[in-house]
C-alpha cells in the first residue's frame, strides 16, 4: 500500500508544480506594441477564458497542497483520510481543470486564427511572444490535467476496492 501512497504524493507534487508554472506563465504574460501610433498592451485579462483558467489552476493547486498536508497528518496520527471525500474532490478537480484548459485553448485559437465569417481580427502575428507564452501555458496545463485524471483513477481504486464484488454497495470482509 505504501507504493500507492508514494505514487499519489509524487503525482500531487507534479500537479502542483505544473499548475503553478502555468499560472505564472499566464499571469506574467503581457506585451506592448505600437499599432497605428498607439501603444497597445495585451495581457491575459483580455481573454476571459485565460483569466478563468488562472484562477482554477491556483485553487486546484492549493487543494492538492491541502490534500498533501492531510495525508502527512494522517500518516502521523495513523488514521486514514475519508476516501469518498478524496475521490469526489479529485474527480471534480480533474474535470474542472480539463474543461477550463479546453475553453482557454479555444479562446487562444481564436486569437491566432481570428474568424473571417464573424469578422474577428487575428492578433498573434502582432503579439507573437504573448501568444507563444500562452500556448506553452496551455500545453503545460493539459499535462497537469492528464496527471489529475491519473490521480482521480487512483482515488477511485482506493475507494471502490473496499466494496464487495458480490453484494451491492456493501463493504467487503477483509480478504
Amino acid at each position: 500500500m505504501v507504493k500507492l501512497r508514494e505514487t499519489e504524493v509524487i503525482l500531487r507534487l507534479c500537479i502542483v508544480f505544473f499548475l503553478l508554472l502555468t499560472s505564472c506563465l499566464i499571469g506574467l504574460d503581457s506585451q506592448t506594441k505600437e499599432i497605428a501610433y498607439i501603444h497597445k498592451n495585451v495581457s491575459f485579462r483580455y481573454l476571459l477564458a485565460l483569466e478563468a483558467e488562472l484562477y482554477i489552476d491556483v485553487v486546484v493547486a492549493a487543494y492538492n497542497l491541502v490534500q498533501l498536508g492531510l495525508g502527512w497528518y494522517n500518516v502521523e496520527q495513523k488514521t486514514s483520510n475519508p476516501k469518498w471525500f478524496s475521490y469526489l474532490l479529485d474527480q471534480t478537480a480533474a474535470y474542472v481543470v480539463f474543461a477550463g484548459t479546453s475553453a482557454a485553448a479555444q479562446h487562444s485559437l481564436l486569437v491566432v486564427t481570428g474568424s473571417r465569417e464573424l469578422q474577428w481580427m487575428k492578433w498573434c502575428y502582432k503579439f507573437t511572444r504573448f501568444c507563444f507564452q500562452m500556448g506553452s501555458a496551455i500545453i503545460l496545463n493539459y499535462i497537469a490535467a492528464a496527471l489529475m485524471v491519473l490521480l482521480s483513477s487512483i482515488s477511485a481504486f482506493n475507494l471502490f476496492r473496499l466494496y464487495s464484488p458480490k453484494r451491492f454497495f456493501r463493504f467487503k470482509s477483509s480478504s
Copy 2:
C-alpha cells in the same frame, strides 16, 4: 447486481437521447438576416468549437449505443464485458464531452459578448434565435456530460471492487 446494470442501461439511454438532441439543435441551427443590404446566413459552421462539439456528441452517442448492444449480447451469452475496457472508454468519453462543451460554451459566450479589447463584434443581438438555440444545446450538452460523469463512476465501481483492499493490484478472493 441487476440493479446496477439497470441503472447503467437507463443512464446510457438518457445520454444517447441528450447527445442526439444536442447534435440536432446544433446541426439544424441557422439564421439569415439582412445586414447593410446583404443577406448574411449564420450556421454552426461559423463557430469551430460548435462543429467539434457536434462531431464529439455523435461519436460518443454511437459509442454508448455500441456499449448497450455489447451489454445485451453479454446478457444473452451469459458472459461479462471487459471492465477495464468500459472504464477507460467511459472515462475518456466523459472528459472529452465535458471539455468539448466547455470550449463551445466559451466560443458562444464570445459571440454574445464580443471583445472590446480585441475589437471583436458581438453578433447575438442580430441573430437572437440562432444564439438561443445554441445556448439550449450547450445546456443539454452539460446535462449529458454530468450523466457521463456518473456513468464513469459506476464503471470505476464495477471495476475496482474486484480488487483486494489489502494486496496491491490483486484480484480479491470472492467474499
